[in-house]
């Protein structure tokens, strides 16, 4: 239950490694004190966006929302943006929230900024504040 660094897989971003479609990206769902965090590593494009989307949809329905951690994403294009956009829409319908972790200056952050997703989705620079924010959301929710 420690930081996400412990379970960090190696992303095939080296110039010499030809990635196979199957292992272009990995998705790990972690639980940070009741806050689910989806850690995506690798590259997100049309070849794996459907797989990634399926993994993200496995979120349990009692959670306050989902933190998607893009800190290990080396590449993401508009297919990733569409995925996050759809995800945010589905969560909103269930009164759940999406928080995206994406550090400034990283490749996915630039795409987030250029496509205008920043204005419609909560994007924070680091995981800690994201988990913190989600806990606040959870506290405000009526407890079952």
């Amino acid at each position: 239950m420690g930081g996400p660094s412990g379970s960090e897989p190696s992303a095939p971003t080296g110039a010499d490694a030809v990635p196979a479609a199957g292992d272009l990206a990995y998705v790990e769902i972690e639980d940070h004190d009741g806050v689910p965090v989806a850690v995506i590593s690798g590259e997100v494009d049309i070849s794996n966006v459907d797989d990634i989307t399926r993994r993200l949809m496995t979120l349990p329905n009692f959670a306050p929302g989902l933190v998607v951690d893009l800190r290990l994403v080396a590449y993401m294009d508009s297919t990733g943006i569409s995925m996050l956009h759809d995800l945010a829409g589905r969560l909103r319908e269930r009164s759940q929230q999406l928080i995206v972790v994406c550090p400034p200056g990283s490749p996915p952050r630039r795409v987030l900024e250029l496509t205008g997703l920043m204005t419609r989705t909560t994007v924070v620079d680091d995981l800690g504040p994201a988990v913190q924010a989600m806990r606040h959301v959870a506290r405000d929710l009526p407890s079952g």
């Binding site: 010499d16 494009d45 294009d77 956009h85 490749p107 250029l114």
Partner: protein
């Protein structure tokens, strides 16, 4: 003096005239010609120191009706002979002072009087010795005093008759001489006017006129002072010997001797103190000059009441020129003026033609990284005129270049303006995206609508797609283009036989597509290159094929090479245009991929781009690399999402470095569906944010997306944020 060659054998060259004394021009003054005609008035000179003897002689001879001149001494007789024209002399032997014999010797010694018969009058027939002396002195007869009037009259009559016959002979020979002089004058004028015919440019003409005038008039110096468009007054245009003015100075109109003569349009013969100061002149010559100029002829050159300048001839001898020379030079000056005026107008006209022609042809051909273009235009070898041949080339987009060539039947301004209109119309149709066949069809409608019947034009229109490696061809009555493969094989790229423009606008223009590969060269030309009079057109095509097969690779050299081998002087009765296009290989280090249109191809393509950027554009910063990866993947994603149905299909992706920019292209052969769902268009919007230039070209044969990102400059999205 330089050797000249006259191609016209009827023309007497001045060189020959100068070297052959019999053909030396002789200018006989009008006074001399008049004197020759007065021979019949030659009189009889009576010489006797006794007045009564003279009176007696007059009485005897008066019935002859001749002009009688009396002299009372030898001296008087000699003076009379200088003044009068005498046919026969009656000379008394015994006189005071100069006696008859002495007087006769002097008369015989003078060339002018050597031929005049002398009849001696003597008193003593026995003075044999005296008579012998008289004959030795040149007497032709003698009369013994006191003489019989009848005998004297008869003798004198015989001599008068002889004199008349002789006078007739002289007159005839002088008439011949006069006729020859007139003929020479005409020749002189011809020689001077003829100089104009063999020269098309001013410098050659003026030099020639000065040379010829100097030779004909045996002048030691000669020069032409002419007006210029861009400078005031007159300037030296050609000269030899000591020039009357410095070569770089100007003669201001109205100023100085030359300026005044020019303004007053007055011909002048100047000698002695009338001569202007020639010190400013420079010796330009061949060292023939024997001394300072002592006489000058200055004659204005005037045409249709317009002063062109002056011709100035100088001579070292003060008496070299006379009034007759000046008169002839004045006549000659009129011819020179016409010649100079003609050449000036001609040069002006030719300059206009050349300027106009240049303005009608493109001053530069488009630059394409995958194509090398060169073109040549040769005007007709006949008189300068605007031709109807034209060519043009323009870049339609990054891959496609339109190349066209055509021939409007006829010459002159009308053909040229028609050509210009056709060219502009065809450019417009090409830019609008019409295929060659469709563009020519449209053009034919323009021809019918604008020019009506009678306007015939041929056009060949090519669109070369360097990326696809194809050339689409359509032609209207024009010779097909020739293609030389990288291996050197030549073939003419035929299309269906089509009519020239202006015949029937309902006939659809045929279109054909041929592959072109790196190393191929296309040659477009007008019929002037293959057509020669009295020769089969096939011979012309064979000649072109041979020349093309051995021509160098460089298109500029290739054009020259082909013209050198196919165009001869006799053949250049038509204007000629040629245009060569060489297809080059892909730019060095370019990345070209052909992959299945499947999602799995996108990461592969992106990986290859990453590797390629590392190797080929190492100076690119991390953000630009990442931007290009996204843009390129977006373009591939669009192809996979929108271009094809579910079946197997391929697409192409290429990347090239273009100076300080990276150019990316993704092309497919499918038909794009309109974007679906709420995310449609996001990819293209992102591409536009990431690149400086994005072009999406949808055509029937597929879609090409071209993106360009310059490095150094920030992309538009970052510019907006700073």
């Amino acid at each position: 003096m330089p050797e000249r060659v006259n191609t016209d054998p009827s023309l007497e060259s001045p060189v020959q005239a100068a070297s052959d004394p019999d053909r030396q021009p002789v200018f006989v003054s009008p006074a001399a010609l008049a004197a020759a005609g007065d021979e019949r008035h030659a009189g009889i000179l009576l010489v006797d120191d006794h007045k009564e003897n003279l009176a007696a002689l007059r009485a005897v001879l008066e019935p002859l009706g001749e002009h009688l001149v009396s002299a009372e001494s030898g001296e008087q007789a000699l003076r009379a002979l200088l003044r009068e024209d005498i046919a026969v002399i009656l000379l008394d032997v015994r006189m005071a002072g100069l006696d008859g014999l002495q007087t006769a010797r002097i008369i015989r010694a003078r060339p002018r009087t050597r031929h005049i018969p002398i009849i001696f009058l003597t008193a003593q027939v026995s003075e044999v010795e005296e008579i012998a002396l008289a004959y030795a002195s040149g007497a032709v007869d003698y009369v013994i005093k006191p003489f019989e009037p009848e005998i004297l009259r008869a003798k004198v009559s015989v001599f008068m008759e002889l004199s008349r016959e002789r006078g007739e002979r002289v007159r005839q020979s002088r008439a011949r001489a006069e006729a020859e002089t007139v003929a020479r004058t005409v020749r002189t004028l011809q020689i001077l006017s003829d100089a104009a015919l063999s020269h098309l440019e001013m410098g050659g003409l003026t030099a020639e006129l000065v040379e010829r005038a100097a030779t004909l008039f045996q002048a030691d110096s000669a020069c032409l002072l002419l007006r210029d468009e861009n400078a005031p007054g007159l300037g030296v245009h050609a000269g030899r010997g000591v020039l009357p003015v410095a070569p770089d100075s100007r003669v201001m109109l109205g100023e100085g001797t030359f300026g005044r003569l020019a303004v007053e349009r007055e011909a002048a013969l100047l000698v002695g103190e009338e001569l202007p100061d020639l010190a400013g002149g420079a010796d330009t010559a061949d060292g023939e000059q024997a001394g300072p100029i002592a006489s000058l002829m200055v004659v204005p050159l005037v045409t249709s009441d317009e002063l062109l300048g002056l011709i100035v001839l100088g001579a070292v001898a003060e008496d070299r020129f006379d009034a007759a020379n000046l008169e002839l030079l004045t006549l000659a000056a009129d011819r020179m003026a016409i010649a100079i005026d003609h050449v000036q107008r001609f040069a002006h006209g030719r300059q206009l033609v050349e300027t106009l022609q240049r303005s009608l042809l493109p001053d530069r051909l488009p630059h394409h990284p995958r194509l090398e273009l060169a073109a040549r235009y040769l005007p007709s070898g006949l008189a300068p005129q605007i031709g109807g041949d034209w060519y043009d080339a323009l870049e339609l987009d990054r891959d496609r270049t339109a190349v066209m060539i055509g021939d409007v039947v006829g010459h002159g301004v009308r053909a040229a303006t028609t050509m210009s209109e056709l060219r502009n119309a065809l450019r417009a149709f090409a830019v609008e995206g019409h295929s060659p066949g469709a563009a020519l069809q449209q053009l034919d409608r323009v021809v019918h609508a604008t020019f009506g019947p009678g306007m015939i034009a041929t056009v060949l229109f090519l669109i070369i797609d360097a990326a696809k490696g194809t050339v689409s061809i359509s032609r209207a009555g024009h010779p097909p283009p020739a293609l030389r493969s990288a291996g050197g094989e030549i073939r003419f790229l035929e299309t269906g036989n089509t009519l020239p423009l202006g015949i029937d606008d309902r006939v659809k223009a045929d279109e054909a597509e041929y592959p072109v590969n790196p190393g191929d060269t296309l040659l477009l030309f007008t019929d002037g290159l293959v057509e020669r009079r009295r020769e089969s057109i096939n011979t012309g095509f064979d000649r072109l094929r041979d020349a093309f097969a051995t021509a160098p690779a460089d298109v500029e050299e290739l054009c020259d090479y082909i013209l050198e081998r196919t165009v001869t002087e006799q053949a250049s009765h038509d204007d000629i245009a040629v245009l060569a296009v060489r297809v080059l290989g892909p730019p060095l280090g370019a990345l070209q991929l052909t992959l299945p249109a499947k999602a799995a191809s996108v990461p592969l393509v992106r990986h290859r781009l990453r590797v390629w950027l590392n190797e080929n554009v190492p100076e690119l910063d991390a953000m630009a690399r990442s931007d290009l990866e996204v843009a390129w993947s977006e373009a591939c994603t669009n192809v996979i999402r929108h271009a094809y149905g579910p079946g197997d299909a391929m697409f192409q992706a290429s990347a090239a470095r273009d100076g300080d920019a990276v150019s990316l292209q993704v092309r497919d052969t499918g038909q794009w569906r309109p974007p679906r769902g709420q995310h449609g268009g996001r990819g293209i919007a992102l591409m536009r944010e990431l690149c400086d230039e994005v072009r999406v070209e949808r055509r029937s044969e597929g879609t090409a997306v071209t993106m360009r990102r310059s490095f150094g400059d920030p992309p538009p999205s970052r510019r907006g944020r700073q």
